[in-house]
Assembly symmetry: none
Homo-oligomer: 413 residues x 2
């Protein structure tokens, strides 16, 4: 089945927005064994939009559009496509109900232009949008399918995963199974290097690596018609992965390190406390993105100043005086005292220099000490990260999650 | 001058590569006052490439392609375009010399397929590539210009900046000026509603709104030939914006709320401390993304458990008992006590239900109390947010940044 993607939005044409939607959709469609022939981006301009939809309609079986479904004047996608195929826009009562419901207890007032979103081309299928106000729309025309998705990435993914993917899977006899491996404490090129023999000769399954800050996601995708055969194939590759990356494999899923660690802590009922200096609360905030974390996370301290290290974490003034705030000794006192204060099973501390200012020859930007106190044993890890401030903070957080994961998983063995 | 961009590369169509080239080129062209009408991406497929170039040639004056200029078999851009316009590919001695020079200076071995890169369509201009082996190519045809750039972002930017930008600047007298307004505490549809009269009649300047979580960015763009006139025009619109959104305009820039507040606090030297429950450190971590924040931010407490609220923030057990952890009274004690503990000029506290669990009929998910203590005055704000956990946390943080901004800006008046 020939597919193509049309993205609608002037913000893309002027370069204000990076088009991540088109990559997401291309990858997802490819994963389903569908071939994407073209990407087209056009502004909020009815004439041009109509023109590109016509071109697409003449060369593809499935056309997916993103953007232009919202409440504002320049949202024109469904209007243009409805007119192109001589469809009336009709009120959809269910959409109206959901929209009013959405605004019922919302922090923003309902404005009339929102009503624009309850009109749908006649005979079209509505694809509910659990993440926003503009639903997706599916139109069947002359044996072709046009799917209109909202533009905000979160809503687009939401509608695609909930409504579009199942439809594609139903139509598609070809099975595509993917397994994901989230590796930590290793760079993408090193991962690729260890998999080069497999990547060079890959046909089925295919291997793709995606680098995120301080973590690398490996996707192994097999396709065929027999699920059992696919799983056998993927099992063989899983053995290879586990053998080649035994120190790095964090989770056999897409889950981020933070999410994985949070789930592990909850599952094992290990309580945790955090004392952060250079990460400024990033570790606590990423842990607390996980629902149910309150069961194991009670205390986080952001001890940015020496006063706070002394007053809240009881770090000795002499220690700060003698070794400095960024030192092994300070990291040690921070986590050991934090454990006493919080009474948590596991206490982590971070002190470092995120930069860009504050670095010295002897203590450069990127130097970070991580303290981890668990079962009465304190382990201090010295790290040298590079990158800009935000990168160093995230790499530090990921290293902490890596260390926590290794610690509690090993201890559990 | 009508422009469009064609990106060539199968890696884009399967979603392996995020297309950053197209955003870079779009922004650069827009900054030069050129209007980009379309983006098209096509794979390494001669028939399809020829087809999209034909379409572009019939609707645009300037066509910029990226990719497909390299040494390998699937690099076909110049071959396809040369054939489309009946141009011979001829050896360019200068390119050959530079290519051999390039390899002489590198440890990479020279492989014969590299010679492919010394062929250029007859009568075309070569755009030297100081960053790689594949030069750019400029072709003038029937009053239109086709510029072929290499695909690797670094090389593409290199050739664009060195060779293309000067050409555009020489040809082009049009100026484009944009101003940005970051609004908070208001939804996108409400923003548009208040600007509808201007949006409906917009020609120059143009107005665009972009929604982010809990903030809305408005861009006003004017173009013309006289900078002074453009600024006068933008000043008039700025007055309108300031009048219609006096409670919402946060910063006249693209800066996020967190960044703006952090800079304000540093600039005004107002010290701040945070006590977070449902946001779990998000507010502290977003403030500490700003370099130099240590000057004003010393203490953050993530008081997720009642014990921590009692032990570290000295919230009265009776208060938690009587009113609950999520209550105005708890929020008040949290920030008032935090101010004493931290000695900060401004103390903020957050307690709420981020969900998805933990909501009740009387205290539903999304209920958040924000305490703000400044100059001895405590102000408590009750919010009802919706969305999933992460969204509620970010909306809460943005509301806090909004309240801080309003407080310290008003106080400064």
């Amino acid at each position: 089945m020939k597919c193509e993607i049309i993205c609608v939005g002037t913000e893309l044409l002027v370069g204000d927005t990076l088009n991540t939607n088109v990559q997401y959709l291309s990858r997802e469609l490819s994963n389903q064994g569908l071939s994407v022939g073209y990407h087209t981006t056009v502004g909020d301009n009815p004439k041009r939009l109509e023109e590109v939809v016509k071109i697409a309609f003449n060369r593809s079986d499935l056309i997916i559009t993103t953007g232009g479904l919202g409440p504002t004047q320049d949202d024109l996608t469904k209007e243009v496509i409805a007119e192109l195929f001589n469809k009336e826009l009709v009120q959809d009562e269910k959409v109206k109900e959901e929209l009013l419901q959405f605004f019922a207890n919302r922090e923003f007032p309902f404005t009339p232009n929102n009503l624009k979103q309850i009109f749908v081309p006649e005979h079209a299928e509505v694809l509910p949008n659990p993440c926003g106000t503009a639903p997706g729309i599916l139109l069947r025309e002359q044996g072709r399918v046009i799917i209109m998705l909202p533009g905000p990435p979160r809503e687009m993914k939401c509608v695609f995963e909930e409504d579009v993917l199942p439809l594609i899977r139903k139509k598609n006899r070809q099975l595509v199974l993917s397994r994901y491996y989230n590796l930590s404490d290793i760079g993408e090129s090193a991962v690729e290097d260890r998999l080069l023999d497999l990547i060079d000769t890959q046909t089925n399954p295919t291997i793709a690596t995606y680098a995120k800050m301080g973590e690398v996601l490996v996707r192994i995708t097999a396709n065929g018609e027999n699920e059992k055969e696919l799983n056998t194939l993927l099992d063989q590759y899983e053995d290879i992965m586990l053998e080649r990356f035994k120190d790095n494999i964090f989770t056999c899923s897409k889950q981020s390190l933070a999410e994985t660690v949070a789930k592990l802590l909850i599952e094992k009922n290990i309580t945790i406390a955090t004392a952060e200096s250079c990460t400024g609360g990033l570790i606590a905030s990423q842990l607390t993105e996980e629902s149910g974390i309150s069961k194991v996370f009670g205390t986080g301290i952001v001890s940015y100043s020496n006063e706070t290290k002394i007053n809240l974490l009881h770090v000795k003034a002499e220690t700060l005086e003698k070794f400095g705030a960024v030192s092994e000794e300070t990291a040690r006192e921070m986590c050991e005292n934090l454990q006493k204060i919080s009474n948590a099973d596991l206490a982590v501390s971070v002190t470092g220099i995120a930069g860009p200012e504050g670095g010295t020859a002897e203590k450069p930007v990127g130097l970070v000490y991580i303290g981890l106190c668990y079962n009465g044993i304190t382990q201090i890890t010295t790290c040298h990260f590079n990158g800009e401030r935000k990168i160093i903070q995230q790499k530090t957080a990921n290293k902490v999650f890596h260390l926590i994961g290794k610690t509690i998983v090993d201890k559990a063995k």
